[in-house]
Structure formats: structure tokens, C-alpha cells
């Protein structure tokens, strides 16, 4: 199994955290992982992108050029993801912010209202976690069953009170698929 994912959203939406947590969990589940952020002159509001691969075998190029799955967190990311997505690939779209359909007909599109779901749980900022739950359910690549422990080591103790909310977001994301 190799799952190559391309993630994109605007700076501040938590694309980098989403990618890092995804590979951290995958590593804890015994998979090979690689995470490569596209850094540049981007700042808050610019497009943040990440190439993320999890696999049961040694990973070749860390650069995802034809993703099996892509995550579209905002409008600006849609054309970027459509351009690279693999033929017949999976596309998870944050329908809270992306109000149009992809032009490509070959893609398997799943729409998740990440921001609305996150706000119902308690904070719009965890929209990225809703999306991660959906990615787990839709691909089956990473189970996320070790996420709670990962969050405890990923975030400082002062932020641990937010973990239950994050776990609820993952659950909700899984259910939304």
C-alpha cells in the first residue's frame, strides 16, 4: 500500500499541521512516511501546500506529482489540485469554502463541510482535523487509532485541554464520508 496525498489550503488553515499529524500517526502505525512542505515566500493568506506519502514499503520520490488523493481546503487550491490529481484520483473538498465543482469528471469527489462541522463542535480552527478524519475513512491508509497519544506529544501540556475537541472533529470527519 502506498498512498500519496497532496494537501492545499490557505496559510493558517492548518495544512502543515494536518500533513505532519497524518504522517506522525502513520509512523506510529508502522508505515514508512515522508512529508514535504512547499515553503517559499508564502505568508498567511497565501496557498500552503504539502506532499505527503505513507507506505508499507520504502518511499521513492518524496515529491507527489500524481496524487492518489488530494485535499482542497479553499477555493484557490482547487485548480492547483485539479491540475496534479491522478486519473481517477480521490479529491476531498472542503465544501464550506469551495462552492464550485471540480471541472474534471474522472475524479472521485467527496465534499465535507469542514468549517461548519468544526464550528458545531466548538471551533472553526479544527476544520483541518475534520478533513483528516475524512481522509482516513476515505483512503483507509492511516487508521488514526494512535492519534490521541500523538497529539499529547505533538502539543505542549498547556494545549492538552483541546485534545477531546480534536478527537471529536476526527470522528465527525469520518462520519461525514
Amino acid at each position: 500500500m502506498t498512498e500519496k496525498t497532496f494537501m492545499a489550503g490557505f496559510g493558517g488553515q492548518g495544512i502543515i499541521s494536518l500533513g505532519q499529524l497524518w504522517v506522525y500517526c502513520a509512523m506510529k502505525e508502522g508505515l514508512e512516511v515522508t512529508f514535504f512542505p512547499f515553503y517559499g515566500a508564502e505568508k498567511r493568506g497565501g496557498v500552503a501546500r504539502a506532499s505527503v506519502i505513507v507506505s508499507t514499503k520504502e518511499i521513492a520520490s518524496p515529491l507527489v506529482t500524481a496524487p492518489d488523493s488530494s485535499i482542497v481546503m479553499n477555493m484557490d487550491s482547487l485548480p492547483i489540485c485539479e491540475e496534479v490529481a491522478k486519473q481517477g484520483g480521490l479529491m476531498l473538498v472542503n465544501s464550506s469554502l469551495v462552492k464550485v465543482d471540480p471541472k474534471r469528471a474522472d475524479l472521485k469527489v467527496i465534499k465535507i463541510a469542514c468549517n461548519e462541522i468544526a464550528e458545531q463542535i466548538g471551533d472553526g480552527k479544527i476544520a483541518n482535523m475534520v478533513m483528516m478524519g475524512a481522509l482516513s475513512k476515505a483512503t483507509g491508509a492511516v487508521k488514526l487509532d494512535k492519534l490521541e497519544a500523538v497529539l499529547k506529544s505533538f502539543f505542549p501540556e498547556s494545549k492538552h485541554k483541546f485534545i477531546p475537541m480534536n478527537m471529536a472533529a476526527i470522528e465527525a470527519g469520518m462520519k461525514a464520508v
Partner: protein, 355 residues
Amino acid sequence: MSEEKRLMKGNEAIGEAAVRAGCRAYFGYPITPQNELTAYMAKHMLDKKRTFIQAESETAAINMVFGAAATGARSMTSSSSPGISLKQEGISYACGADLPMVIVNIARSGPGLGGISPGQADYFQSTRGGGHGDYFHLVLAPKSVQEAADLTYKAFELADKWRMPVMILADGLIGQMMEGVVLPPAIDPESLPRKPWGVGHQADTHRANNHVSSINLVPVELEALVRARFKRYEEIKKTEVDFEEVNCEKADLILVGYGTSSRVALGALEMAKAQGIELGLFRPISLWPFPEKRIAELAAKGKKFLAVEMSMGQMVEDVRLAANGKGEVHFYGRCGGVIPSEEEVLAEAKRLLGK
């Protein structure tokens, strides 16, 4: 107990490996895409009460490393391409003075300031003695975060063993990406053997002065020193060559690449296999000394080579020298910070095979 696998950026893994190798002093100056390494050393070297200095320039940093290394301490600097160019004068001096040190180049695209995206166009500079004078130094090229840690650790050992600078040549992608890594055991710098040629420690030894310098104004003496160093280079070529190969016996066409390019090439090899096409992969790990013998052997068997690089073609010249006219050598490269895709490398390989 074996170490737990950690998720780390390449830059941070290099920093932690250096700390664990007993690096006593680090001197650096910020530049993208290696900043996390300097930042990591700032925190962890000071935490361990070792020396960390952010120098006023790259030139100052390499000369501080020269000073620290002259005392026998394991010492290191890091930078990215334009900064490494500035360090070349100091590296030449260190090679002339036979000083062990570790220099990390997290290479970006050039020439000039170029861009901050990954590049492999510093191959000539790294492997040919980038400063003035007759010299070489070891150059190791990691392909992953794990190998970045392992080779940095090994670089300190090799530097001491051969009394010469060792360069880690990685591109910005290796520095910036995150992967799982199991770190090597920590060495206490105090437990390392003292170097008898080092300066200092006279209060406890009462020995005569040691001079660590690259200068010698007597031509026949300097010639003898350079010749002795080149004899050492021949020993290094016998023992320190390192490479990895995949499917080279079976395939007629062998992709040759180091670092990130080798992983792109591996992807092309796997895609080819799925299409029923055999490709080989030859990955030099030591860029100097270059694994020329093995390439010559493969060339003698009539293999073809396709060098894949993130440059306009630099390592390919070493492949050509090693093949020495016996095997066809082709080149595919991207530059300017563009990373070739597995698909385009496969397309080029298929074109060469007429498929």
C-alpha cells in the same frame, strides 16, 4: 534499549546526529533552506553547555571552525550553496592544515543567490576541492532523513580518522522534509581520545608547541606534504567508497543519481517494472571518493547509464570518466530548483531503450 523512531526534519536530524557524535563546537550563519539546523544547534548545543556561535558571516564561521578543530575538538558548520561558496577559502586552509571538521551543505538552486528551492548544482564545487590549491575532501550524500543523521554521525568519525574536512552534501528537500528516524547513540565529547597534534593542553602535558597551519614557504617541503596527502587520498579511495545498487545486474539501462534524484530514479524504476521494463539504479553515497570501480565494471558488461540530476549535468562527468568510453552515458536533469518527476525520468529511460 533501541531508540524510538522519531519524526524529524532532515535539518534537525543532522543537528541531533552531530550533537550525539560529540560535536563540541558549532559555528554558523543563517541561510534558507538550512535554518532549522542552525536553530537546532543554538538550542541544543547551549543546553549541553557546548559552544554555539552565530558568526558575523559565513567566512567568520568557517574560520572559527578552523580554530576549534585545531584544538582537537569535534567541530562543525553548515550553510547552503551561496554560503558554502563563501566558506571555500577556509575549507582550502583546513585541508592544507589537515584539520578534521564537518561541513553541511543543504544545497539550493544557483548560480548566484539563485533560489531557495532544492538543487544539486554544487557537485563540482564539492567534489573537486572548491577552493584554491591541490586538495580533495570526503563528500557524503544522504537520500533520506535517516541517512542524513547516519552520515552526519559517520562524517565526524571519518574526519578524525583521515584528518580532513568531511562534507555532507544534501539538497533543500532532504533538509526540509520530515521522515521517521532512529538516532545513533550519544557520545560524550570528553570520552573521545585527545589528538596529539592539537594545540593547547600544554599546562597538563608540558610538551613543545604544536603548530596547525597550511603555510610552508619551502617548495620542496610543501611538495612533500601535498604528495603525502595525495597518498592518503589513495588509501581513502580503497576503503571509503560507498554506494547502493538496485537491479543493476539484470537491467541494461542503469539510472545513476544521488540524494533526492536517486529517489526520483527509484520511483521511475518501480513504474518501469510495473510496465514490464527492467531498469537499474546506481546511487553513489560517497561522491568523493566516487564509486568509479563499480561503474567501470558495469560499463565493461555493456550497460548503458542515464545520470539523473537536479543540475545541468555535473555528476554525469564522473560517470563518463568511470565508464571510460565502454558504456554509453546519457543525462537527464532539471535545474533552477525544479525537482524532476518520476514520470519524466521514466519517459527518458523508455526513449533511450526505444520503448
